[in-house]
Amino acid sequence: MKKMYGVILLLVLAMVVAACSSSDDDGKSADAGSKKGDGGKNQVEIFSWWTGAGEEDGLLALIDKFQEENPDLKVKNAAVAGGAGTNAKAVLATRMQGNDPPSTFQVHGGEELNKSWVAADKMEPLDDLYKENDWMDKFPKDLIDLVSNDGKIYSVPVDIHRGNVIFYNKKVFEENGIDVPKTFDEFVTAADKLKKAGVTPLAMGDKESWTATMIFENVLLAELGPDDYIKLFKGDIAFDDKRVVESAKKFGKLLDYINDDHASRNWQDSAQLVANGDAAMLNMGDWAKGYFVNDLKLKTNKDFGYFAFPGTEGNFSIITDTFGLPKGIDNPDEVKKFLTFLGSTEAQDIFNPLKGSIPARVDADESKYDEYGKDTMADFKEASLVPSLAHGSAASEGFLTKANQAVNIFVTQKDVDTLIQSLKNAAPEM
């Protein structure tokens, strides 16, 4: 009998140990195939949050093409679902801190890259890659600056989205006899007119508060101009600057024109208001174009039009997805092959038309893009580029979180002093 118990005990322990170790193995091999197993050196793992409609197609097309050109390499798509990469970023943070980085990962250019991964000394500089491929004049200088820190370049931009765009319902504008407003005052005049006609002038869906933060950053850009806008987020201009206070007031004024149920809507829901004609305008990144055209089946320049946020014409608020090279991976040379591919016009022209963004390179093939894309590409070459706050480019994630909170409170309370004070308090964390 005694033996029996001993045997059972041993079995139980063995099972526990086996369970632990086997799950451990699974986890490792699933997460870090590049470290173990056959041909680990040949595996390139691409970490992103491109799981939405157009972007996933783009990513898969990219992988197919790369695979075709490099049959000896094995590409692994490690995309993590979740809007704006919230979940992906949490997974990435865990992996980076556990010294188990993916071969390359998606990160917004700007402080999201610099203030976290570069500051944590987890990234390899890519200056050589840029020189080898002669990229220095293929990407706009402002953009290269955005993915650089202390004079070293850390990632390869793949796509560009624009944040300071207002989309509008053409029919509503025509019916109410409204011209595209160029300045803040024109905007207010138009909005008053629309309001009188019973149309919500500005659609907003701030169930997630970054949509409101986008409006605020565009007002800031209009008020400060591109140079001082950048200085503001570099900390060279204080948040209690007269013009920032003025921006907050104007932002508050704009909030008088939004739909009542803004807190129950996300950005797609607010875009629907414009599509239905219940609201006239929407300030959103130009992924909204993809939503209008692909999901709501509207026609560009027929059903909906677009213009730069009043006062920001000639400026381009960029949101760019980039890929970098983490330290501590086994096969940096193979991963560099992939990064070289990502930076090529060929790859960018495969990916961007599908995602609905424009290429980061200035020498891409315009004929592959739609009307809106061509327009934006022309602007992109000419305009001064500024980083978007709401998408993590202008300031650190920490500052952004606090800015979003302050904006959320402001949307209801409209207390300029509180907003300015909150931003000022958070400023050291930019």
Binding site: M1, K2, Y5, I8, L9, V12, L13, V16, T86, K89, A90, A93, M96, Q97, K115, S116, W117, A119, A120, D206, K207, E208, S209, D260, D261, H262, A263, S264, S396, E397, G398, L400, T401, K402, Q405, N408, I409, V411, T412, Q413, E429
Partner: protein, 374 residues
């Protein structure tokens, strides 16, 4: 379904140091029912069974340990018990209590960016939180959410149980109907109620006929509000919409618990009371409800820990809400930790949440312990 979810909740509730063992859990369930029965059969076998199983689940490992101290020889049974309990004991010590300790440690550090920094910060993170508008709003929301949620779940759950206990036809049909929402996850409930209570679609299209258009969870008004700290303290109207959804989901569960309690009351007791001339109202007031007290305590504890830790329902249904009227510590913790990389602040929120739950659980554990000793 019922039994399974009861198990889950009761296990959570007891915070027992046992691994997921169905048989053990079932015993826990039985013991709770036994507690309600023991209300009138004190000193009977049921009570003893209950005490035994209670002491087992309270300190299975503790029992093994004291056994080592007291006697030289350890019997085979005890070796087996130790063998079975040790793996889960070790895992739980590390992965539950170890990490609670680690969270506490992080909450006292300066780890507020992606770069780990474990230098000692004292109570800095806590002080920041309690001055923070959002956290103050979270605490206010949690307080009112918990109060309304528990009250409604008890009143409605108890009421439904009493109605169903009237030996009506198709009883099991109604029981299942009311229990059914519990089969859904809070995420599903959240998404559905988000549509139902959306001010521009949903329920309001029906209310239009009556000319009222409540703003539900987008309402930023605070009832009976007054300035307190940096927030307006009072009942946030928006939280009521969330309470509705949560109550819809959890009422069936409390009904099932009350029903189990009611079934444990022998008809003789009520009959005797009626014979003595008690009205039906008095029967409930003086006989049934007092006997159901232990059930009510269980319901309060189970619902309190759900409401204090609530995350998924809010996340799916309303998000933080305008002016943080529907925000709760769980959502804040998630956002500040995983979006803002404020790990130490997030850890501090987690510790505050733990303490809040402890306010409910510790007295319960304490009284349960006393009950065992007696």
């Amino acid at each position: 379904m019922k039994a399974a979810s009861c198990l889950v909740h009761l296990r959570w509730n007891k915070a027992s140091a046992e691994a997921a063992d169905n048989n053990k859990g079932r015993k826990t369930l039985e013991s709770d029912v036994a507690v309600s029965q023991s209300g009138m059969n004190a000193g009977t076998k049921a009570m003893r069974v209950c005490c035994q199983s209670a002491s087992q689940k309270q300190g299975g490992t503790g029992m093994a340990k004291t056994a080592i101290k007291k006697r030289k020889r350890i019997t085979k049974d005890q070796w087996t018990a130790i063998g079975f309990l040790l793996p889960s004991f070790i895992l739980i010590v590390i992965f539950v209590y170890g990490f609670i300790g680690w969270t506490g440690y992080v909450s006292l550090s300066n780890y507020n960016s992606i770069v780990p920094d474990f230098s000692f910060a004292g109570l800095k993170n806590y002080i920041y939180l309690f001055h923070d508008f959002r956290f103050q709003a979270d605490l206010r929301n949690t307080v009112f959410f918990t109060i309304f949620f528990i009250l409604l779940v008890i009143v409605l759950g108890g009421g439904l149980a009493i109605l169903i206990d009237q030996k009506l036809k198709g009883e099991s049909f109604f029981r299942n109907i009311f229990l059914f929402p519990m089969a859904l996850s809070f995420i599903v409930t959240g998404v559905v109620w988000q549509w139902l209570l959306n001010p521009s679609t949903g329920f309001n299209t029906f209310l239009k006929f009556f000319g009222i258009q409540p703003k539900w969870y987008t309402d930023t008004n605070i009832l009976a509000g007054f300035q307190w700290g940096s927030i307006e303290f009072g009942i946030p109207v928006a939280i009521i919409a969330v309470v509705l959804a949560a109550v819809w989901q959890m009422t069936g569960f409390s009904m099932a618990m009350y029903l189990a309690g009611l079934r444990g009351i022998p008809d003789e007791l009520r009959e005797a009371a009626r014979m003595d001339g008690a009205t039906e109202f008095q029967v409930y007031r003086k006989i049934v409800l007092p006997i159901l007290m232990p059930i009510t305590v269980s319901v309060i504890i189970i619902m309190a820990h759900i409401s204090l830790k609530i995350f998924d329902l809010i996340y799916a249904m309303t998000g933080s809400g305008a002016n943080f009227v529907t925000d709760v510590p769980g959502v804040y913790m998630f956002e500040t930790t995983f979006r803002g990389n404020y790990y130490a602040n997030g850890a501090a929120i987690a510790i505050v949440m733990l303490l809040l739950v402890a306010i409910f659980i510790v007295p319960y554990l304490w009284s349960a312990r006393k009950g065992d000793n007696a």
